[in-house]
């Protein structure tokens, strides 16, 4: 169980910290879209240029990790409120952990490949 590895109070601190930092990054992400003009900023060339900017790619990667950790821990909390039991709690905790890692890996693939220009013509 996750609580064997880490105290639930520490997990909640991580939950709150990831939320606060993610809010800051999401504000940057939205401001970039709005300042470029919402429709223009979504043009293919504009988005690719965003990914090729290393500081912005770092913001995207940080946002991906922070929101994934916060989101899947939130899902774990909701599911543990519904039902308890050793086997169930282990399944929920490790299931959320695996889903979180898979989402981070999939999102990171997009960020890395787009920032390196590995995009189909």
């Amino acid at each position: 169980m996750m609580s064997n590895i880490m105290r639930e109070s520490h997990i909640m601190k991580i939950h709150y910290l990831t939320a606060l930092v993610a809010v800051g990054f999401v504000i940057i992400h939205i401001m970039v879209r709005i300042t470029q003009g919402f429709a223009n900023s979504l043009e293919f060339e504009s988005v690719i240029a965003n990914y090729k900017s290393i500081p912005y790619a770092i913001v995207l990667e940080a946002m991906l990790i922070l929101i994934s950790v916060h989101g899947f821990n939130g899902l774990r909390i909701i599911l543990l409120e519904l039902k308890q039991g050793n086997a169930y709690e282990n399944a929920v905790t490790y299931g959320c952990l695996v889903a979180m890692i898979a989402l981070i890996a999939y999102g990171s693939r997009t960020i890395i490949m787009a920032s390196m220009g590995m995009v189909e013509a």
Partner: protein
């Protein structure tokens, strides 16, 4: 009280009986799940970028419809409410704004469920509504 017990988890979850705090409890969970599903969809949507301009544009067309705009407006609302109410919960769990502990006397009104907390919930809902209107303005280029 007897009726409460008979209802079990349904009685606990009833958003209409226990005031705005229970409504906020449900909204927090619903918006959290909604945002997680949106986030997963957003990661998949942006991965279409790697398949080239045609794939990106066809994916983008899905969001450039009235339904797409309504969906994104709901996402904005969920995001703002979840943030506002989340900050309220963090402040409360840090021990601020929940009153001093005291002896439980009749009518056993919980000190932690006070007007400050209620106000924060209403402000979060109000901010979400304002952000949704602003978002609609940006999407429709008003």
């Amino acid at each position: 009280m007897e009726k409460d017990r008979k209802e079990g988890i349904r009685g606990m979850a009833n958003p209409g009986r226990y005031g705005i705090e229970r409504v906020a409890y449900w909204l927090m969970r619903i918006t959290g799940l909604g945002l997680l599903f949106y986030f997963i969809g957003h990661i998949y949507e942006t991965s279409n970028l790697l398949d080239g301009k045609a794939a990106w544009n066809s994916m983008l067309e899905l969001t450039q419809t009235t339904e797409g705009h309504i969906f994104l407006t709901l996402v904005i609302g969920m995001c703002v409410f979840h943030t506002g109410n989340g900050i309220r919960l963090m402040i409360g769990q840090a021990g601020f704004g929940i009153g001093k502990p005291g002896r439980a006397d009749y009518p056993y009104t919980p000190k932690s469920l006070n007007m400050k907390g209620k106000l924060c919930i209403y402000v979060s809902i109000g901010l979400a509504a304002l952000a949704m209107m602003y978002g609609l303005g940006v999407m429709y280029d008003v």
